[in-house]
């Protein structure tokens, strides 16, 4: 056995023999089994399954992430208790001390996530076996929970930069500009230019290209479309109707939507052999009447195409969670080589929080930067904080970009390319950089004090 694996195995043995391990595992299993009960008895099967993912898996995963941070940062305790001195005096390079611990933490995480996965499988079986389920409910769950789908957005014409700038100026002079950062303002301007306006009785055609041949074939009678529509005056008309029909099909689907709330509908499938689906959205309110004017952003209309199996999607999601834990462990083990144990754990939690809310933090920082004054001591501090925050966000990967549990709950597939990107950013770079940095510091750090 290599020295690296010896360190990893020693860590696993330590966890196995710790008195707190059994209660922790019990807590994971209990939360995994009991939290799905949060969904009311009258909830639909799909809703109950979604709760099982969001809480029954989400909370245990949160506990495992906390364990990961504390366990990896335990390197600081090894240093404080001087136990590290014996390791450092052996022919073991510093990076192997860190990497060994990282592998050990990852091995324990894999086992814990395996338990959560097994518990989730049991939950799903229990839900499916309930006698009170109707065939329609089961069919809906199969279509909207157990069939992972990839979203293909409708085509939209790229916005002319000059027009974008003009809209941005107009927004800036109005109320909206006061609450948006520069980046946010540009996104709003592009959405304004992209969106289709549907007065009562008006219709618009949306084109979705690239639907795989297997789904364009006539085996399926309909395809799921997810859309977000807006009412021009949401305070007066938050609820409205939209009529959908696919080119070449006889039927139409009337959908009742809420302003800004994502809605899934099944439209008759009429994708051509080239994989192009043309769907028409129509405002069914009487033309010339005082019904609501609807707004539709093509990028918020997606054809949901089945991709891969449920089992594969769940496996991919758990693998991404494991990669996130792997990154957290690498970051915490690096922190443990620098700081004391409490500081390492707190900083590790900060990294976790930053990774979870990276998108929100980035927008906040942009807003902060846009709002910063030009001179004085306070603005300098603000600029310094913005620079620091931006630096942190540049280093910390965003967990929100690919939220694996949200994907499973919403039956959205995790594409192989996304999985590859996660392996690259979290699994390779996210581990190699912290371990290298931690080893560099540990090599230079003095392990002893004046006595």
């Amino acid at each position: 056995m290599s020295p690296l694996l010896a360190v990893a195995r020693n860590f696993c043995r330590e966890v196995q023999r710790r008195a707190t391990t059994a209660p922790f595992i019990l807590m994971i299993l209990l939360s995994s089994a009991l939290l799905p009960r949060l969904a009311g008895e009258d909830s639909s099967l799909q809703a109950r399954l979604q709760v099982a993912v969001t809480y029954g898996v989400g909370f245990p995963v949160f506990l495992i992430a906390l364990f990961t941070i504390a366990a990896a940062a335990g390197l600081a305790r090894e240093i404080e208790s001087k136990r590290i001195q014996l390791l450092v005096t052996k022919p073991l390079p510093a990076w192997q001390i860190l990497a060994g611990r990282l592998i050990g933490v990852a091995a324990v995480d894999t086992l814990l996530l395996g338990l959560v996965l097994a518990s989730f499988a049991v939950q799903v079986r229990i839900e499916m076996a309930r006698a009170s389920r109707t065939p329609e409910e089961t069919a809906q769950a199969v279509e909207r929970f157990f069939t992972p789908r990839a979203g293909i957005p409708a085509e939209s014409t790229p916005s002319d930069p000059q027009r974008v700038r003009a809209v941005m100026e107009a927004l800036r002079s109005g109320d909206a500009g006061a609450f948006e950062s520069e980046g946010g303002l540009e996104a709003v301007a592009r959405a304004v230019l992209r969106r289709r306006t549907l007065p009562p009785g008006a219709s618009t055609e949306l084109v979705v290209r690239g639907i795989p041949q297997a789904h364009a074939a006539a085996e399926q009678s309909s395809i799921l479309v997810e859309f977000v529509a807006h009412s021009q005056d949401p305070s007066a008309e938050p609820r409205f109707e939209l009529e959908w029909s696919a080119a070449g099909s006889a039927g139409a689907v009337v959908s009742r939507a809420l302003h800004g709330v994502p809605q899934q509908i099944a439209v008759p499938l009429a994708a051509g052999p080239d994989g192009t689906l043309r769907i028409t959205a129509r405002n069914p309110a009487a033309k010339g009447g005082n019904g609501p004017t609807l707004l539709l952003d093509p990028l918020q209309v997606e054809a949901l195409v089945p991709e891969g199996s449920f089992v594969r999607n769940v496996a991919s999601a758990f693998f991404v969670v494991l990669l996130e834990c792997w990154f957290l462990a690498a970051a915490s083990v690096c922190l443990g080589a620098i700081f004391t144990f409490p500081t390492s754990v707190l900083t590790g939690l900060f990294v976790y929080g930053a990774a979870l809310s990276a998108g929100f933090l980035r927008e906040t920082l942009d807003l902060f930067a846009a709002d910063a004054h030009s001179s004085g001591i306070l603005p300098s501090l603000e600029s310094w904080l913005v620079a620091l925050g931006s630096g942190v966000l540049r280093v910390v990967p965003s967990f929100a970009r690919l939220d694996p549990l949200e994907r499973v709950a919403a039956a959205r597939s995790i594409a192989p390319a996304e999985l590859g990107a996660a392996i690259g950013s979290l699994g390779v770079l996210g581990a190699a950089i912290p371990v290298a940095a931690g080893a560099w510091i540990l090599r230079r750090r003095e392990l002893g004090r004046a006595e």
Partner: protein
Amino acid sequence: MQDPLIEIRFLRKVFRDFWGRPRVEALHGLDLDVGAGEIFGLLGPNGSGKSTTIRLLLGLLHPTSGSIRILGGSPRDVRLKARIGYEPEESFFHPHLTAEETLLFYARIFGLPAATARTRATHLLGLLGLSPARARPVGEFSKGMLRRIGLAQALINDPELVILDEPTAGMDPIGTREVKDLLRDLKRRGKTVILSSHLLADVEDVCDRICILHEGRRRALGPVRALLEEDQRTQIVTDRLSPGTIEAVLALLRDREGPGLRVDVGAPSTRLEDFFLRTVARRDSPSGPPEGARP
């Protein structure tokens, strides 16, 4: 000394506080050589710089100035550490591991093949009297047992250089004697041992040369016998003499050396350690006579 195994030149170590201000100067320009195959004792009161010197030798601390060469290289060379065994002053072990697992863990760190690791671990556990406790977690060990397992892990790689920080602290006299015998055996096998200890009798018994440190400075260095020898006095030890013979010898001495000669006459006393070990050995022997106060 030919080809020293350790060369320390003008070694200074200043410990600094958080702000980089000098706090303690632990070593003031130490010069020291340790030759291959000798048992070298590092002596000094608390805070004299013994542990700092050892940590500098092991690369745990970095010198402020001066140089250290150990086994022909830098103390921070990872490859050289495969040839060194170290027993720290305190026993820093994983409390959840058993004695055997602890030794196997360190054997794996040295990259020993599984069979060799197991053989050596079994041998060392037997040698240091830990065989009955091989399956007990180290966290349950007494201080003396911890010193033993510490010594065992220091020897698991059959090192060329063994550095021991207070190896007999907390051990009973039998254990101390076993450790001293083990050190002599290491010397016979050509190993070099650096020993730091407060127990002067132990150092005197096993060390070839010693260095006495005080306040970070070298106060004495040389072979133990040469440093302890009182070259202005002579001692003759014989079997018990009758009072008449003693008077005759004293008369002869004064006659030859002059009336001012200082002479002490008395029965030489044995060392307490030897007396204790003899006593315990007799008690352990079924035929041995009981000692102590009789009714």
